[in-house]
C-alpha cells in the first residue's frame, strides 16, 4: 500500500509537467493579445509591444520557463529579488489581481459547490437506485429510470433557468445571484448534481439487482431478516462499491466542470472565470487554474484508490504488492 502511494507520488510531478506543457502550448496558440481590449481605442504600437515584452508574451520559451520557475517556487528558492513561493503571476486581463489571489478567493467556492453537488447526487442517486433496483421491471423502477434520463439529458442551463424562474422568481424560496449561505447554494448544487445523480442511480440499480439475487441475501431472507435491513445492511454495502469508484472522477468533474452552473446562478467560482480566461487568452490565469486543478485531480484519484482499499480490504490495487 505505502509502496503504491510512494510510486504514485513520484509519478505525479511528471504527469503535471506533461499537462503543463500541453496546455501551455495550446493556450499559447490562442490568437489575440490579452493586454488589449478587443474593441475601442488602441494604444500606440510601440507601447503595445513593450507591454507584451513586459509580460513575457513575446517569447514562448521565455514565458514557459519563467512561469514554471515561479509556479514551482524555483525562483523563490534561488532567492531572486521579489520572488514569492508558488507565484502564479498577475492575471494578464485583470492586472490588478494576481492569479494566487483569484484562486484563493474563488477555488473554495467551486470546491464547495462541487462537493455539495456530489453529496446531493449520492443521496438522490443511491436512493433512486435502491428503489428501482429492489424491484426491477416494476412501475417504480420505470419512474426512477425516467428521472435518471431527464437528469442526464437536460442541459444544466435549462434545468438551472427553470429552477431560477420557479423557485426564486415565482415562489421566492431561494435568492438569486447570492453566495454565502446554504440557501444560496441549494439551487446551483442541485442543478449541478442531477447528471451525477442519474449516473449513480443507474450504477446502484445494477448493483442492487445483482446483490438481491446473491446467495447471501437469500440466506438472510431465509433466516427471517427484514427486507429493509437486508437492503440497507447487506446488499447496499456491496452494491455501492461501483459508485465509490465513480465518485473520484465525478467529484473532480463536479468541481471543475461547473462553469455553466456558475454562470447561470452567478456563483463566484473559478469555473466561469476559467472559461473567460481561455476566451481572452489570459495565459497566467489559464495556467494557474490548470496547474492547481491537475494537482487536485491527481490527489483525488490517489485518495479514492486508497479509500477503496480501506472500505473493502479484499480489493488490491494495481501495482500494489498482493499480500
Amino acid at each position: 500500500m505505502s509502496g503504491l502511494i510512494l510510486r504514485r507520488l513520484l509519478q505525479a510531478p511528471l504527469i503535471l509537467l506533461v499537462i503543463y506543457t500541453i496546455t501551455f502550448t495550446l493556450a499559447w496558440l490562442i490568437p489575440g493579445n490579452p493586454l488589449e481590449n478587443p474593441e475601442g481605442r488602441r494604444p500606440p504600437p510601440e507601447v503595445a509591444e513593450a507591454m507584451k515584452a513586459r509580460y513575457n508574451l513575446d517569447s514562448y520559451w521565455g514565458f514557459y520557463w519563467d512561469y514554471l520557475a515561479n509556479a514551482t517556487s524555483l525562483r523563490y528558492v534561488q532567492g531572486r529579488e521579489g520572488a514569492k513561493p508558488f507565484d502564479l503571476g498577475p492575471s494578464l486581463r485583470h492586472q490588478d489581481w494576481t492569479v494566487n489571489e483569484i484562486l484563493a478567493d474563488q477555488l473554495p467556492v467551486s470546491l464547495t459547490l462541487g462537493m455539495l453537488a456530489i453529496f446531493i447526487a449520492c443521496g438522490i442517486g443511491i436512493l433512486a437506485g435502491m428503489i428501482g433496483g429492489t424491484k426491477p421491471g416494476s412501475l417504480r423502477d420505470f419512474a426512477t429510470l425516467i428521472v435518471a434520463l431527464v437528469g442526464i439529458s437536460l442541459p444544466s442551463f435549462v434545468i438551472g433557468t427553470v429552477l431560477l424562474v420557479t423557485c426564486s422568481v415565482w415562489w421566492k424560496i431561494f435568492p438569486i445571484a447570492s453566495w454565502g449561505t446554504l440557501g444560496d447554494m441549494i439551487l446551483p448544487a442541485l442543478t449541478l448534481s442531477l447528471p451525477f445523480a442519474a449516473y449513480i442511480a443507474r450504477l446502484t440499480r445494477f448493483g442492487m439487482i445483482d446483490q438481491m439475487n446473491a446467495d447471501y441475501v437469500r440466506a438472510a431472507r431465509a433466516r427471517g431478516v427484514g427486507e429493509l435491513r437486508i437492503v440497507i445492511k447487506h446488499a447496499l454495502k456491496n452494491a455501492a462499491l461501483p459508485v465509490l469508484s465513480y465518485l473520484g472522477p465525478a467529484a473532480a468533474m463536479a468541481m471543475t466542470g461547473s462553469f455553466v452552473v456558475e454562470r447561470v446562478f452567478a456563483v463566484p467560482g473559478i469555473g466561469q472565470h476559467f472559461v473567460d480566461a481561455v476566451l481572452s487568452k489570459d495565459l497566467t490565469l489559464i495556467m494557474g487554474v490548470v496547474i492547481v486543478y491537475s494537482t487536485l485531480l491527481v490527489c483525488f484519484n490517489l485518495l479514492v484508490d486508497v479509500l477503496y482499499h480501506w472500505i473493502d480490504p479484499r480489493i488490491t490495487l494495481a501495482g500494489s504488492p498482493t499480500t
Binding site: 490562442i30 490568437p31 489575440g32 478587443p38 474593441e39 475601442g40 481605442r41 494604444p43 500606440p44 510601440e46 507601447v47 503595445a48 513593450a50 507591454m51 513586459r54 521579489g82 498577475p90 486581463r93 485583470h94 492586472q95 490588478d96 494576481t98 483569484i102 478567493d105 474563488q106 473554495p108 467556492v109 464547495t112 462537493m115 456530489i118 453529496f119 449520492c122 433557468t161 431560477l164 424562474v165 426564486s168 422568481v169 421566492k172 435568492p175 438569486i176 445571484a177 447570492s178 453566495w179 454565502g180 449561505t181 446554504l182 447554494m185 445492511k233 455501492a240 454562470r263 447561470v264 446562478f265 452567478a266 463566484p268 466561469q272 472565470h273 487568452k281 479509500l307 480501506w310 472500505i311
Partner: protein
C-alpha cells in the same frame, strides 16, 4: 457501515466550514449590478465605463462636470485662470482636500499622476490626452527611444558608435564612477585607474556639451573606452544605468513638461496648443489624481510618515526602490515596472467621496462614505454595493426578485420584448403620462406617479442613448488584401452603398431596440455648441444614379451590376464579429437589402472578436462592422480617427484636405470658429467621402424602478456619478 458514513461526514464538516468562512456583506443603500467587474480601479489605466463610474466615487479630479449638461464646475480646485492665448491654466486647489489616509491633496499629486499617465511604462490607454501639455509628446517619445536603446547591447566596435550610444556609454560610466564604491560584481580592467578614468569621462562630457560630433571624435581617440564598456556590460552595471536613466527621466519631465506647482496648492499647466476642451479632459478619469506613496508602495519611517501626513509626501525624500513595495526598475529593460496591488483594500487610498471597503474578483465592490472627504454630506448614500452578474438572463431574473436597485446593462435576448412591454405600459397611460410630463415632472417621476403595471406591461426598463455610434466601415485602400482592385476606393460607390440602406428598418425590425438612426458620426446634440451636418439620408434612387455614374450598371439585364467591360461587381466580403448576435442579424439585413436593391452579391464572414480585430487591422475586408464611443466633449474625439496617421483608422481612409483641416482645427483659438470648421469636416466626411456608413446611435439599457432610484443623468455621455445617486429602498 461506518466506513461508508465516515467520508460523508467528513465532507459535511468541510462544507460547513467553507460556509462559515464565506459570509455575505450586509445590504448597502444602493445595490447595483454590473455585467463585468471593474478591470482596474487605477484611474490612469481605466477605459471601461464601469471602471470610470468607480473613479468618480473614489477620486476627485480638479474640476467636475455637471453630468446633465456637461458644464464645468469646481471640485478639488476652483475654476482656473486662463491666459489670453488659452494656453496657460492656473488652478488653485482647495486647502482642505485630504486623501483617505489623511494626507493633504496638493498640486504635486496631480503632477505625479499625470506624469505617470504620460510614461510609456504605464501603458495608459489615454496617454495621448496628456500630450496636449507642452513638452508631453516630446517627453513620451524621448523615454520610448531611451528604452529602445537600452534594450540593445552596447556595440563592441568603435566605428558603430552613434552619438546616442556614445552619450549613453559615457553617462553610464560617469554615473558609475560617481558612486562612492563600485557596485558588487563590477571590476574595472586592471590597467585602468579610477581617477584617470573619471577625468577622462568628465572631459568627454564636456565635449558632449560642445557638440555631439566632437564627442564622437573624442571617443574614437579614447582607445580604452571600449575595453571598459566590455567589462561593464553585466547585470549590476545595467542596473546602475537603468536607475540612472530613471533619474534622468524624472529630471527631464520636471524640466521639459510644462505642468508645475508654483506652490503646494497651485497647479499651472501650459498647453502645446489652445484646446478649448482641455477643461473637459481635466474632468475625465485619466486626469484623476492618485496618491504616489500608495501607488508605489513607499515604506516610510515614522517621522517621514508624519511629515507626509502633515504637509504632503512631496516633503519627504522618495525612498530607494528597495523600500517601494509595488514598483521596480527592470535591469534588463530599464522599464519602470508597476504591480497593481494597491488598488485593493487595505492598501487603496483615494480622495473621492467614497473609500473602497472590499473588492472581490468578479464578485462585488463595496464602497463606503469617506470620512476624510472635505464635504461630509456630499455623497447621498452611505454604502454602495456593486455586484457582478455576467449572465444577462440571470441579471434580469435577479432584478425581478427586488434585491437590486439598478441594473446597469440589460442585454438579455428578450430585451426587445421587455421594451415592448414598456411601450404597452406607456400606451395604456398615454393621457395621464402626457399630463404629468406637461406638469413639469421628469419621466421617472411621471412613471412612478402612474398606477402599477398590469400583466404584459412594465415600467422598470429604460433606454438611454449614448455617446457612441454603430457603423460599418468601408475599406478605403486602393487595393484589397488579395491584390484585387477595391471598388470601395471610390467615394461615389461608398456613398451609393450608404444611401441604399433603410436604417430605420434595421432598428425597428432587426435590433428591435429602436435606436436613433444615424447619418452622421457624432451623435447629434451631445456636444454643446456643435451643429451636426445633415449627412446622406436613405435614398435608393440617388444611390442607383450614383452607382451608375461610377460605372456600375446592370448592362445585361441579369439583375447584377457590371462595369463598362462587363465585369460583375466583386462579391462583397462583409466582416463582422460573432461575440454578440447583434451584428450577425444586422449584417444579414444589410446583405439582403444590398442584394435586392443594388444588384450585388454579399458574402458574410463572421469571426470571433480576436480574429475579427486582426483582419480589421490587416485590412482584410471590404466592409466591416465597427463602433466608436467618444471620450471627451469635443468633435475631435470622433473625427480624429479619419486622420491618415491615426492608429484607429482601420479603413485607411486618407484625404490630404481632411488631414489639413483637422490640423487647422488644432490651431484655432476661437471656439465658435473651431466648431464650425469641425462641423464642415464632418459634413465633408459624411456627405462626400463616406469612409464608413453610420447605422445608429448606440443605446444603453438600464433597469430600475422609477421613483426608487434618483440622480441618474440622461445626457448621452452617460457619465453616472455614484455619489449623486439616491434610492428609496429600505
Amino acid at each position: 457501515m461506518v466506513r461508508i458514513v465516515a467520508p460523508a461526514l467528513t465532507l459535511l464538516v468541510v462544507l460547513a466550514l467553507a460556509l462559515y468562512l464565506d459570509a455575505t456583506p450586509p445590504r448597502a443603500d444602493l445595490v447595483l449590478v454590473n455585467r463585468n467587474d471593474a478591470f482596474t480601479l487605477d484611474p490612469q489605466r481605466m477605459s471601461w465605463m464601469q471602471d470610470l463610474r468607480f473613479a468618480s466615487a473614489l477620486y476627485e479630479p480638479l474640476l467636475r462636470w455637471d453630468n446633465t449638461d456637461f458644464s464645468i464646475h469646481p471640485a478639488a480646485a476652483a475654476l482656473p485662470e486662463v491666459s489670453d492665448d488659452h494656453r496657460t491654466y492656473t488652478f488653485h486647489l482647495r486647502h482642505d482636500g485630504r486623501w483617505s489616509n489623511g494626507d493633504p491633496v496638493t498640486a504635486h499629486d496631480f503632477i505625479a499622476s499625470w506624469r505617470r499617465a504620460l510614461l510609456p511604462d504605464t501603458a495608459a490607454d489615454y496617454s495621448g490626452m496628456f500630450m496636449l501639455i507642452e513638452g508631453g509628446e516630446a517627453f513620451f517619445t524621448w523615454r520610448m527611444q531611451r528604452l529602445a536603446e537600452f534594450g540593445a547591447d552596447l556595440p563592441d566596435d568603435a566605428t558603430l558608435i552613434t552619438p546616442e550610444v556614445a552619450q549613453r556609454v559615457v553617462g553610464r560610466l560617469f554615473h558609475l564612477l560617481a558612486q562612492p564604491a563600485l557596485p558588487e560584481g563590477i571590476a574595472l580592467p586592471p590597467a585602468l585607474d579610477r581617477e584617470a578614468l573619471q577625468r577622462e569621462m568628465r572631459r568627454l562630457l564636456e565635449a558632449a556639451d560642445r557638440s555631439r560630433t566632437s564627442l564622437i571624435s573624442e571617443l574614437e581617440q579614447s582607445t580604452r573606452l571600449l575595453e571598459v564598456v566590455a567589462a561593464l556590460d553585466d547585470e549590476s552595471s545595467r542596473t546602475v544605468e537603468a536607475h540612472w536613466l530613471w533619474d534622468q527621466t524624472m529630471a527631464r519631465f520636471r524640466d521639459t513638461v510644462r505642468v508645475t506647482a508654483p506652490d503646494d496648492f497651485t497647479l499651472r499647466v501650459h498647453l502645446a496648443r489652445p484646446a478649448p476642451y482641455f477643461l473637459d479632459l481635466v474632468c475625465f478619469g485619466a486626469f484623476h489624481p492618485v496618491h504616489r506613496p500608495t501607488v508605489e508602495g513607499w515604506q516610510l519611517n515614522a517621522s517621514d510618515l508624519a511629515l507626509a501626513n502633515d504637509r504632503g509626501w512631496h516633503m519627504v525624500v522618495p525612498p530607494p526602490f528597495e523600500a517601494r513595495r509595488w514598483v521596480t526598475i527592470n535591469p534588463q529593460t530599464a522599464r519602470f515596472e508597476q504591480r497593481h496591488d494597491w488598488t485593493k483594500p487595505p492598501y487603496h487610498v483615494g480622495n473621492g467621496p467614497y473609500v473602497l471597503r472590499t473588492w472581490r474578483y468578479k464578485r462585488d465592490i463595496l464602497l463606503e462614505r469617506n470620512a476624510q472627504y472635505h464635504t461630509p454630506d456630499f455623497a447621498r448614500c452611505d454604502r454602495i454595493l456593486a455586484v457582478v452578474i455576467n449572465d444577462p438572463n440571470t441579471a434580469v431574473l435577479a432584478f425581478e426578485t427586488g434585491r437590486f436597485d439598478w441594473l446597469t446593462d440589460v442585454s438579455a435576448e428578450y430585451l426587445p420584448d421587455m421594451l415592448a412591454q414598456r411601450k404597452a405600459y406607456e400606451a395604456a397611460h398615454a393621457e395621464d403620462l402626457r399630463a404629468l410630463l406637461a406638469g413639469g415632472m421628469n419621466i421617472d417621476e411621471a412613471l412612478s406617479a402612474l398606477p402599477p403595471p398590469q400583466e404584459g406591461q412594465r415600467r422598470n426598463i429604460h433606454v438611454f442613448p449614448t455617446f457612441g455610434t454603430d457603423f460599418y466601415s468601408f475599406n478605403c485602400r486602393p487595393t484589397l488584401s488579395n491584390g484585387h482592385a477595391n471598388p470601395f476606393a471610390s467615394a461615389a460607390v461608398r456613398r451609393a452603398f450608404a444611401r441604399s440602406i433603410d436604417k430605420q428598418a434595421i432598428v425597428d425590425n432587426v435590433t428591435r431596440l429602436h435606436e436613433p438612426v444615424a447619418n452622421t458620426f457624432i451623435p447629434p446634440h451631445t456636444i454643446a455648441g456643435y451643429e451636426s451636418p445633415e449627412g446622406l439620408a436613405y435614398d435608393l434612387q440617388a444611390a442607383r444614379r450614383e452607382l451608375a455614374a461610377a460605372g456600375w450598371d446592370d448592362r445585361d439585364g441579369d439583375g447584377l451590376i457590371e462595369d463598362e467591360r462587363g465585369n460583375p461587381f466583386p462579391v462583397i466580403d462583409l466582416l463582422y464579429s460573432t461575440n454578440t448576435s447583434r451584428y450577425k442579424w444586422i449584417s444579414l439585413e444589410l446583405k439582403a437589402q444590398w442584394e435586392k436593391t443594388l444588384g450585388v452579391r454579399v458574402q458574410l464572414r463572421g469571426k470571433d472578436s480576436k480574429f475579427y480585430k486582426d483582419d480589421l487591422i490587416k485590412g482584410d475586408f471590404m466592409i466591416a462592422r465597427g463602433r466608436w464611443y467618444g471620450d471627451y466633449g469635443d468633435p475631435t474625439t470622433f473625427l480624429n480617427i479619419f486622420h491618415t496617421l491615426d492608429g484607429n483608422n482601420d479603413r485607411k481612409f486618407s484625404d490630404p484636405m481632411i488631414d489639413e483641416m483637422l490640423e487647422d482645427a488644432d490651431r484655432i483659438v476661437d471656439p465658435q470658429a473651431r466648431l464650425a470648421l469641425l462641423s464642415e469636416i464632418e459634413r465633408l466626411l459624411f456627405e462626400e467621402h463616406m469612409p464608413l456608413m453610420p447605422i445608429c446611435q448606440l443605446v444603453q439599457v438600464y433597469m430600475y424602478e422609477p421613483g426608487n432610484v434618483h440622480g441618474l443623468s440622461r445626457h448621452p455621455r452617460l457619465s453616472q456619478f455614484l455619489w449623486q445617486i439616491e434610492t428609496e429602498s429600505p
